[in-house]
Symmetry: C2
Subunit: 447 residues, 2 copies
């Protein structure tokens, strides 16, 4: 028997605000960060790694919450935990006192994601498989047992879920073989951050086209004339056969969203992403009706499965962009994939953040192999920075994620990264912070 | 000029789980807690007091988040802050890095509530008025400037809001005089906690009737036979002229909620409260359609104004139970009251928790005087415990809140309470904790 002996948590922050990487109309100066969790066992060769993603201040709150969420794991058998991944999820999730702080949203839910991501990573490592393989080796019953279906039965019953998974089970191997040849298609956001100059935008769009991307995403919503100029540059470089997506990062009220997006219609965007509050199911539905044929995409701030259920029920989304570090790990993500399949909405996961590409590649592969069986309308985000901090970084070639082969959920960071970017005591932050990212000095450390 | 010199935060927890006070089908063993904030100024006679409410573990996270949220206040002028209560709210709320952890929900939003509650308390003290009087002395323009109307314009414009407030402005004084005579009607939940025995339930129902209450609320949803027996006892004691409300605290999926509530129809409940996930706007609407004429009530976990906007748009609620420590203080609460007025839904604030009664009395008075102008269908929760920890506790007589007279938001706790119940170092918790509430030992303190 192997035992979980301790839980390490690390507040890791990267000074991305210095280069405007990740800048958009709502988030002008994010420092990409991870509340990083390591589950240590009494086998020195076996640990589980997971994280949630934030953009700086407050990462300490998620780290502290993760330490609290993970307490029930200490001293437990790895075989017990990884043998009932639905059971341990429900145990951690249902702590009623912590639940009060959500339920299933905000800091405590981000922390649950971090911890359960580490548990799923551990389970995949115990199995000697990458996470996508662990999932595609599970039976429909095992997957449904792991999924969080609570509050969903008016839209998706357990039998519905089993039916979806059973339909594709006999042909899973064919689709794995196909993806092994082709990879899973992705698009790039690296070109279009709002803080980049026109010259940098033009150069990055050209580089993206040259690298084989057929989809390019630009941030919009801060200034309408800027949006016109930047979209014109992008179309000039990528032409009209490639797809152009736009992302407003929640800056608009519903009427303003409708007006602004319609005014950009000449650039023929495939989708408008996050046109308004991520909580506004009915608002997204109203925008979708009004801006057709431009699609509506949302989900990176989709707080939980109940939000997504309603997005589907209200026909509010053309593209579902679930987030692997905001939903309650694979348990809740399974439920959202099953809902999306039932309602016929393609899932294109969000990955603009540190380490999210590493996670979502596994999920997209699983979706194609076991749930949706389709690549139509599906393209997963890829952002090309900070991968160098991961022991098993994702590999993208010709606009597609290659199938990861190493055991686990690809979530492990290098120890040297922790040494350098741990906040506030890592070597980077302990140096004169005024030279680096001034914003983190506004963080109040918990005493 | 007076300056805010420091922000104190206190993690205060009361061992209510020992007596099953506050027990319901979802929350069996809550320890009522407050993440308590004190804004100190360079005038020793002037401080601002506020808090958010939790039920135990994780209160440390809210306390730490409040300290972070409040940092921009330090060194600022009290006159500047209290002279632009909308401006300081928007400044604190829009920290984009902290916003990522919500937005406007979970721990960071509870913390915003705690801090802004202290700011509003400070403003009322500066004015030498109770909060309800501060609000009813504000012009429609001042109130709308303070309100958080972002993301609401598809349902409530600024002009709508001004129109609502202007309509009742000339007659505010009449309604203040009326409430000064009658008080604001309330109901009691003190009788019906799920962990109480039948004998205690019967005795407390009788005491409530004797004390003048015309509305009694019982917790349901753990066991259907228990619900039948307990509701029968309650009706036997209170008769059929008084109103009986039932509260399931989110335990059901939508189909189960409909089936269970219909099976209790013979007891003629006025409302079923929190029949399912608090996030499920469309689910609440479905339950409401199915259980008519039993009303649907929800809101104590209503995370923000966008959730309430949709609840109203979807015609999901008969009673809106906003929470004074979960919404972003008066700024966001103003928006919800205005929305409720526009959509014709009565607001009956949640107050089951420590200190919530002290806060919501001010809000209910303000609503009647300046927004709704009606008491029809309106009754505010009252729970009779833990008031002894407050310097200016609410006063309830004959089933009605008396108008509070002391300056502020009634949020100040006694120093002796902080000394005794601060977690984990107050005298109560520092004593042998195994004799008290074992649950808090599962808290991991942030290092």
């Amino acid at each position: 028997m192997t035992t979980i002996t301790s839980v390490e948590t690390h507040d890791v922050r990267f000074p991305t605000s210095l280069s405007a990487d990740g800048s958009d109309a709502m988030n002008k100066d994010g420092d990409y960060s991870a509340a990083y969790v390591v589950l240590r066992t009494d086998d020195p060769a076996l640990s589980g790694f997971g994280f949630t993603f934030t953009i700086g201040r407050g990462n300490d709150l998620c780290t502290a919450a993760a330490a609290q969420r993970a307490l029930p794991l200490i001293g437990r058998s790895v075989e017990e935990i990884t043998g009932d991944l639905g059971g341990i999820y429900r145990e951690l999730q249902s702590d009623s006192q912590l639940r009060w702080l959500g339920p299933d949203k905000g800091v405590i839910h981000l922390a649950l994601a971090a911890v359960m991501n580490a548990v799923w990573d551990l389970a995949a490592r115990v199995g000697g498989k990458p996470l996508w393989r662990l999932l595609t080796d599970m039976t429909p019953e095992q997957l449904v047992d792991a999924a969080d279906l609570r509050y969903l039965s008016d839209a998706l019953t357990r039998d519905d879920a089993l039916g979806i998974l059973r339909e594709l089970e006999p042909t899973r191997a064919e689709r794995i073989a196909e993806l092994d040849r082709t990879g899973y298609p992705c698009y790039t956001t690296s070109a279009g951050w709002l803080g980049y100059s026109d010259d940098k935008l033009r150069r990055l769009c050209q580089e993206a086209v040259d690298a084989g991307y057929r989809h390019i995403k630009l941030k919009v919503g801060a200034n309408r004339q800027d949006d016109f100029r930047r979209l014109a540059i992008a179309r000039e470089v990528i032409g009209w056969d490639a797809d152009l997506m736009i992302d407003a990062n929640q800056v608009w009220d519903v009427p303003e969203a409708i007006d602004w997006v319609r005014s950009l219609a000449e650039f023929k965007p495939l989708w408008i992403e996050e046109p308004t509050s991520p909580d506004d199911v009915l608002g997204h539905a109203a925008v979708r009706r009004a801006v057709h044929p431009i699609g509506v995409a949302s989900g990176e701030h989709g707080m939980n499965r109940v939000l997504f259920k309603q997005m589907f029920q209200a026909e509010a989304l053309d593209f579902c962009q679930l987030d692997a570090a905001r939903l309650g790990s694979v348990n809740e993500i399974l439920a959202v994939y099953l809902l999306a399949k039932k309602f016929g909405v393609p899932v294109c996961p969000h990955a603009g953040g540190v380490g999210l590409c590493e996670l979502v590649q596994h999920l997209s592969i699983f979706d194609y192999v076991a749930v949706s069986g389709s690549l139509e309308g599906r393209v997963t985000e890829f952002v090309d920075h900070l991968h160098e901090h991961f022991v098993e970084p994702c590999v993208v070639e010709d606009g597609a994620y290659r199938l990861p082969g190493a055991p686990g959920y690809s979530a492990e960071m290098f120890d040297s990264t922790l040494d350098e970017y741990a906040f506030p005591d890592g070597s980077y932050w302990a140096a004169d912070r005024s030279l680096h990212s001034a914003d983190q000095s506004r963080t109040s450390r918990v005493a």
